[in-house]
């Protein structure tokens, strides 16, 4: 089975570890081997959380620089920061809603222009899906569901070896029942957004 390497980058609290769990479950349902690695040392204290997910036959659990097939960024500056993980073949999906680092908030750093970020991502890699996942999460009824909105876009934009139905089933199994309706709506909105 072919190997697909997915990197997800987020800021602590954006829920990318739950997104990883959903993808892991979807892989199980679909019979696709999967291994994941996460670095979240200081996540609770405002740091970056990175998950590497390897689907298919490769046995390593981490992804080297330049070898991500898909990069999914929960925050645009973090997506740009992870560009060294990509090659010209990488597909990128990114949220465009900014969470400026504290250094920027207090005037000790400059946040790049969002249009510059989009232009760079688009120019350098194979494809780019960029949209305001926060707006869609709010539309779905919960700002907490940015992660699920992004999963919808990920599934639509291809590259994974499993179906939309299996990801929906994984969402049902892995997310809290109380949020299920909002999550399913969030997933669908993300899926539609990636249709362009």
């Amino acid at each position: 089975m072919e190997t697909t390497r997915l990197i997800m980058v987020a800021v602590g609290g954006q829920g990318n570890l739950l997104a990883s769990k959903v993808l892991g479950e979807a892989a199980l349902i679909s019979g696709v081997p999967v291994r994941m690695s996460e670095i979240h040392g200081m996540a609770q204290r405002g740091g970056v959380v990175e998950s590497a997910i390897v689907f298919g036959d490769a046995t390593s659990t981490i992804i080297s620089d330049g070898e991500a097939d898909i990069l999914m960024g929960f925050e645009p500056a973090e997506t740009l920061r992870a560009l060294n993980r990509c090659s010209t073949k990488t597909r990128i999906i990114t949220n465009t809603a900014m969470l400026p680092p504290f250094t920027v908030s207090i005037g000790r750093g400059v946040y790049p222009e969002i249009e510059t970020i989009k232009k760079l991502l688009k120019e350098k890699c194979a494809s780019l899906v960029a949209f305001d996942a926060m707006a869609l999460a709010k539309e779905a009824g919960s700002p907490m569901s940015v992660n699920i909105v992004l999963l919808g876009a990920l599934v639509q934009s291809g590259g994974l070896q499993f179906s939309k139905e299996n990801v929906i089933e994984a969402i049902k199994r892995r997310t809290k029942t109380a949020f299920l309706d909002k999550n399913l709506k969030a997933f669908e909105l993300g899926y539609q957004a990636a249709c362009g």
């Binding site: 994941m36 005037g107 400059v110």
Partner: protein, 616 residues
Amino acid sequence: MHKLLKDSPGQSVMLLGNEAIARGAVEAGVAFATTYPGTPSSEISLNLFQISQESDLYFEYSTNEKVALEVAAAAANSGLRTFCMMKHVGLNVAADPLMTLAYVGVTGGMVILSADDPAMFSSQNEQDNRYYAKFGNLPMLEPSSVAEAKQMTQYAFELSEKLQQPVLLRTTTRINHSNAFVSFGPILPAKTRGFFIPDPQRCVTVPAVSRQLHVKLLERMAAAKEISEISEYNLIQGSGRMGIVANGVSFHYALDAVKDLGVEDKTKILRIGFSNPLPEKQIKEFLGSCDRVLVIEEGEAFMEEAVKAFGQEAGIVIPVGGKSEKLFSCLSEYDPAMVREKIAQFFGFEYMLPEKLPMDDVPPIPVRPPNLCSGCSHRATLYEVQQAAKDMNIICPTDIGCYTLGFLPPLSTGDFVICMGSSVSTSCGFSKATDQKIVSFIGDSTFFHSGITGLVNAVFNNHNFTLVILENDITAMTGHQPHPGVDMQRFGLDGHKKIDIETLVKAIGVEQVSIIKPFKVKKSIEAIRQALDYKGVSVIISREPCALYAKSLGLLQPRAFAVSDRCVDHKECINSIACPSFYLENGKVKIDAQTCVGCAVCAQICPENAIVPLKN
């Protein structure tokens, strides 16, 4: 029921490496577990702590790793299957009992887990603890994957019982913090009550006894070597004449590499999983069947040195590569592409270096350094010490915990830290070696771990410094574990005593002890000044629960503050305490009402009193 207690053999479950290890211990019928929490091992103990509340497992958070290992040593010598887990530097703390427990041995299976942290994701060094196995004569197992981590944990108990010797299970962060599907096996019922049979010729290590024990220890290790020689964990894959010796995660990077390079027919890989004692015969045979050998191991040249020595003994003259300027480094962790490149380079396989994306037009991206949380009491205390000592030349030894982050600007409070407890003892040294004023910082959990002995030393030797004990009622950094100063009723547990730090410090003989509430800025600064004026050892206990933990328990009802139009833009708040709830809007300071918990420290330092409770 806890997900790791499910008696459902054959079920495939997505587990974190640390959960897989906990499950492996459960399947092995573990009866007794001790720890001091430390990343990347913390989730193992967290799961066992939860499991102990719904099973017969005895689990304790011990005060430090030495205590944890000694508590465990007694259980294992009463015939119980015992698990003691810690991070790599924790094993330094436990090294004293470790070295002699190896002489004494155990009667029940005992597994000691060392979670090493190559690349130092959350550690102060990247020491390679495989040397402890060699140093102390302990059999050692090293998993390469999450699934194997479960399997090896379980096997480690059997091995220990068979050899009557503690077994070292050594992991790295990429095992502890990876997720994969793991198949559950049956759970062995635990033997939960032990019985100690006195055996002074084995258990009382006076010199005459230990001389005999050392002989027996070497015999046990000889037996361990026989097992290592035929262990299924030392396996060979492939049959080519280009040899690779690898351990841990490097094994999988090597497997992927030979496949990606299309050289599976030219190579063979010896994966070492039972790594002390090394399988000498197997390695010699392996060397004899290869034209070149590359040793791939993160950390030090542990296997490489042995492989070279075995080759020399066997008279096999072939190139053996490993750590060198051109090949592998002792620094950081490895990754699949780097291993692929080095394999190609060493064996002369065809390989095109992947193209790198040009990055010169990417603008600088603002960093996202970790920061103390909104409403963290450490921020207040550190600020107050800086204010109280404004005109003094102070040295601030600090310690291991969230407050270590205080060394970053603008608090810039933290000058020296090497290990748990070092704040107190290095203050002793600085106070005698210099004429500078010394104010040091230690968290409550770290104080119990190894600050107390330093304080006894300070009082006895009449040193001169101020120690600030940050009492936030929890071990915050590693994910909110209890410590001896915590009320265990909060965890729903009876039968624990709470140790009061103030009473303890006074009993040690510290005469100048003051308690501050760090969110009362003025009063705190005054109290700190008084302590600084005192000649001798003074202690300030700064009492305020961890905001993150209090919030998660619902004990803290956030009440946000806001910047009113009285603000004339001094930016004193941002420049001196840099709480993450601040942001600038059109150059004006604002407070994020979503994250502000209402500690009101900024309100007290604003020269215009412009920061006020947000009106609902």
